[in-house]
Amino acid sequence: MLKFVVRRLVQLVPILLGLSLLVFAWVRALPGGPETALLGERATPARVAEVRRAYGLDRPLYQQYGSYMGRVVRLDFGQSIATQRSVASEIRRRFPATIELTLAAMVFAIGLGLPLGFLAARRAGTALDQLSMGGSLLGISVPVFFLAFILKYVFAVKLGWLPTVGRLDVLRTVSHPTGFYVLDAVLTLDFPTLVDALRHLVLPGIALGTIPLAIVTRITRAAVLEVVNEDYVRTARAKGLTAGVVNRRHVLKNAMLPITTVIGLQTGLLLSGAVLTEIVFAWGGMGSFLYQAVFDRDFPVLQGGILFLAVVFVLVNLLVDISYGLLDPRIRVR
């Protein structure tokens, strides 16, 4: 198992090298280059030359890249141009928000998608099945910002039940030891803040969780349909096991193999790709942070942020592979 993990981590290295090169090249391809990003378009040539020297932009590209990578391996991503804070501290501040939102979305997607997909499979061909399959097709067809609009309109504007933006009520001042607001509220035993944080999570969670919900529902249905026709399920029934035991121990346990893969893949995608949802709901996570960095030409943030997200993405996939090994004894033994 350890060998497997190490091998996967080693495979990560070329991808990260490629990514860093790509981001490095991207910054230099931006109209005006990094110096324009730093100074704006109306800087004097003297000032530009000064900045180029200060940031090492006057050196040959390979030297620039080399010294950049030298800093990256020490986890020094430089300083944000926009906020003047270190990129690492910015990531530390934003990433918990993204994790929190992703978890909310996946709880919604799995909590609803797993039972729905299972029922759809067991009642394949019935109205319930067709409804859930039609619903999941619709789910992957609705742009997240339109869904967010509908959710906001119904639950915030019309019904007034839930807040539409941010992670907490703006009037609320609380301490954030971890940056996970729900966890913070639990740790500080701040019950009203807990409720407030959870209420703020509902709509963005649903908006972001809808596509994973659709995908989890479909893969669950497909996996269960595949497994119920397996010989060992017939054996389980021939043993006289109750329907509940057959479903849980024999059907679901085997169906979980492909479902786990999909859940992991979706989690990885959400952790790195919730740009639109975060913007629509003014959620201060990684997605909106990097989006702003593109417009600010804040290249240290982009370089560090994209590398960071790529590592997270690959690590989540590694976790999925490991859990796959735990679920399937045929893979465990090699």
Binding site: G18, L30, P31, L137, P143, F145, V275
Partner: protein, 300 residues
């Protein structure tokens, strides 16, 4: 997704032409295929005929009815009402189909052809070519798709063409991997082994046997990718990364611009939103039906 599609391809080979005919029969009998095709036909017809169908110019503003915080809703003269700048909403939505279709088709065509070229090279040559290309694709796939598109669009500037290129770039690794994996599965198939054993040249095997059969999953993926392209184009426009001309009737931009009218005039967001959903549903329905038709194992 690609796995099922690859299996579909394998089946096409096994049973040759008769399966393709079967697939067509299955497709014709599938109600969701009919519905998807109908939605697509309507979408394309609207895009092509927008100048004929639209009652007004999408840019002509009639500010007489607009007051702060009030936008006239649907009426006999303006079926879907006016937008916040006094332009006819229906005409804008009809013209919006042109942008969606144009961006979708061009970006898909570009992304799929570059991707398939790379995939075919990797699949045909193997070895270090394959290795290098696939690692490159891995790198591209490790960047979140929309963020990647935003970054590309940021380099190329606010133009319609940069949106197209941005979405095309996201599609490249998907099609490259798909074609390569389905070519690899073809290469091991019995009939290719048989052809090789009787001395058919490698190049002829690739061109005459492997490629035509590996294309089935690509067709499925292309249909589904059109749906994604429309959503992504709308997303980029929503983020302000479309054409530099603020008057352009793009659905995503229309949705973004009306966020402030959420309370008073929700129809301004609902209509373009529905337009996006309906066209995307059309491609998704047809794509799913195609996949089912090409892979009998999926039918239950």
């Amino acid at each position: 997704m690609s796995l099922a599609a690859a299996e579909a391809a394998a089946l096409v080979v096994e049973e040759g032409g008769s399966l393709r005919r079967d697939a067509w029969q299955r497709l014709r009998r599938n109600p969701s295929a009919i519905m998807g095709a109908a939605l697509i036909v309507v979408f394309v017809a609207v895009a092509v005929l927008a100048p004929v169908l639209a009652p007004y110019s999408p840019r002509a503003a009639d500010l007489s009815g607009i007051r702060p915080g009030f936008v006239p809703g649907p009426s006999a003269a303006h079926w879907l009402g006016l937008d916040q700048q006094g332009r006819d909403e229906l005409s804008r939505i009809l013209y919006g189909a042109r942008y969606s279709l144009l961006i979708g088709v061009v970006s898909l065509g570009l992304g799929a052809s570059v991707g398939m070229l790379l995939g075919a090279l990797a699949g045909a040559f193997g070895g270090w070519v394959d290795n290098l290309l696939m690692r490159l694709m891995d790198v591209m796939l490790a960047i979140p798709g929309l963020l990647f598109a935003i970054a590309v669009a940021a380099v190329l500037g606010r133009k319609l063409s940069s949106v197209m290129i941005a979405i095309a770039v996201v599609n490249v690794p998907i099609f490259a991997r798909l074609l390569r994996s389905s070519m690899l599965s073809q290469r091991e198939s019995d009939y290719v082994v048989a052809a090789r054993s009787i001395g058919v040249s490698r190049w002829r095997i690739v061109v005459n046997h492997i490629l035509p059969n590996a294309v089935a999953p690509v067709i499925v993926q292309a249909t589904l990718a059109l749906a994604t392209a429309i959503i992504d184009a709308a997303g980029l426009a929503f983020l302000g990364l479309g054409s530099a001309d603020p008057g352009t009737p793009e659905w995503g931009r229309m949705l973004a611009e009306t966020q402030r009218y959420l309370q008073s005039s929700p129809q301004l967001a609902i209509f373009p939103g529905l337009a996006i959903v309906l066209s995307v549903v059309g491609f998704n329905l047809l794509g799913e039906a195609l996949r089912e038709a090409l892979d009998p194992k999926l039918r239950r």
